[in-house]
Amino acid sequence: MSLEQETLNAVQENQGGAVVQEAPEAWKPKILAFTCNWCTYAGADLAGLNRMKYPADVRLLRLPCSGRVNPQFVLHAFQKGCDGVLVCGCHPGDCHYSTGNYFTRRRMLLYRRYLEYFGIEPERFQIRWISGSEAGKFRDTVVDTCEAITKLGPNHKFREEGR
């Protein structure tokens, strides 16, 4: 435990002052989705074209390929205050850059296990292959993820103090 934290605890114990945690107002999950420009982002646009409806808690961050998603961005998102992170890309074999998502698949297979090893709930960090025409699958993924994370509640793990 860092020194400040210890000092805080010691002050509480010795001087009996309890630090009150203020109740968060109506909480809405904040989910970041790293999407590849050619497939999932196009799928999301298609979902829009077809006027599909899904919860508004997901924000898409457009990247040229799922291979561009550096796992450090995922951790950075959790640290800065996201409650869930989605990494989406083309189906292996369909990548616009032909091999980008093969590397992503391996990287994310491992990274997901690392974050779980560090104690994050599996539902908070998910990876999905969603092609440009699978608008329905995109909507379902968003709906399921929002549901799961709303059930889990706000994420306090890895988060910087005061975020």
């Binding site: 020194l3 210890e6 000092t7 010691a10 010795n14 001087q15 910087e160």
Partner: protein, 346 residues
Amino acid sequence: MILKKERLNDLLEALASKATVYVPRELDGQTRFAPFAKGSAVELGKAKTVFSPKETLFPQTETLYTYAQLGEDITLCETVNTTNQVLFGVRSCDTYSIERLDEVFLTRTFIDTLYLERRNNTLIVALGCTEPDRSCFCTSFGIDPAAGTGADIQLTDTGDGYFVEALTGRGTEALQAWSPFLTEGQKTAARELTFSLALDTSNVKDSLEQLFEHAYWNDLSMKCLGCGTCAFVCPTCHCFDMSQNNKGNTGYRFRTWDSCTFSDYSMMAGFHNPRPTKMRRLRNRFMHKLSFFSDRYGSSLCCGCGRCIELCPAGIDISRVIEDTSSLMGAGAEQQGSTAVKEVAS
């Protein structure tokens, strides 16, 4: 006056109700200064804690000021938060180090108020050393392990208790609160301490300056990893770096410990680095410890606590540097060996 060892915990609890009392404690396998809480075991037996009390006065990360920007205009707000604190069970090597930190932060044109406030709110209770470690060599720098300088109250172990004497006005004032726990008693004769490690540091400053260009530094620095362990465990290291943490329009600027052995310590914009190689950085570290600091402040920046000897991953040993340089000097080999080998950044 004598403080019986059984009354020690009661005294600490009393002190802890009004201030944060930092005592040497063994946590997660390492001894360091941590806040005393009811029932925590106090580790006064060991010669020195693995980590020095420096972090209680000069924390590893400290916020300087917070800022907020609304549209064009900016407001700064200095953050100061200090609570009364008591450093209990500090050895002479650490009190010597605190004096050196005082010289750095509180003198020479600018006063660091963050450090000043913490220092003003801290009562230092020193405890004489009874049985030095293998790597202790504070006597080599003229430090008296039994009764160091720079503390407010000095305790001396008398077998079943501690002889208490105030060294400063603040000490006597603090002692009034201790009186319920003290009993009458006399100071026993200080036992003679045997140091396995004792060096002659009289001419270390000159020999270092003479050997500045000697090839000795190349071989020594080649095994240095360039990590920050020595600087972070050293009670006298005080270099810091400044940076900021943004959160949209608000944020705070903070300072954090830095180590001159880090490769980006003296990196300037455009990747120009006046100390590009490990050799120059390590040489600068030892020169600053044993020579440069005494040029400026008159006393060595090494208190001989031996913490860096115990923890250096590569086994680099400041006492060996002192011995080697004086032996090299002795052998009249000031310019022996090629001048600084053309090394390359690593």
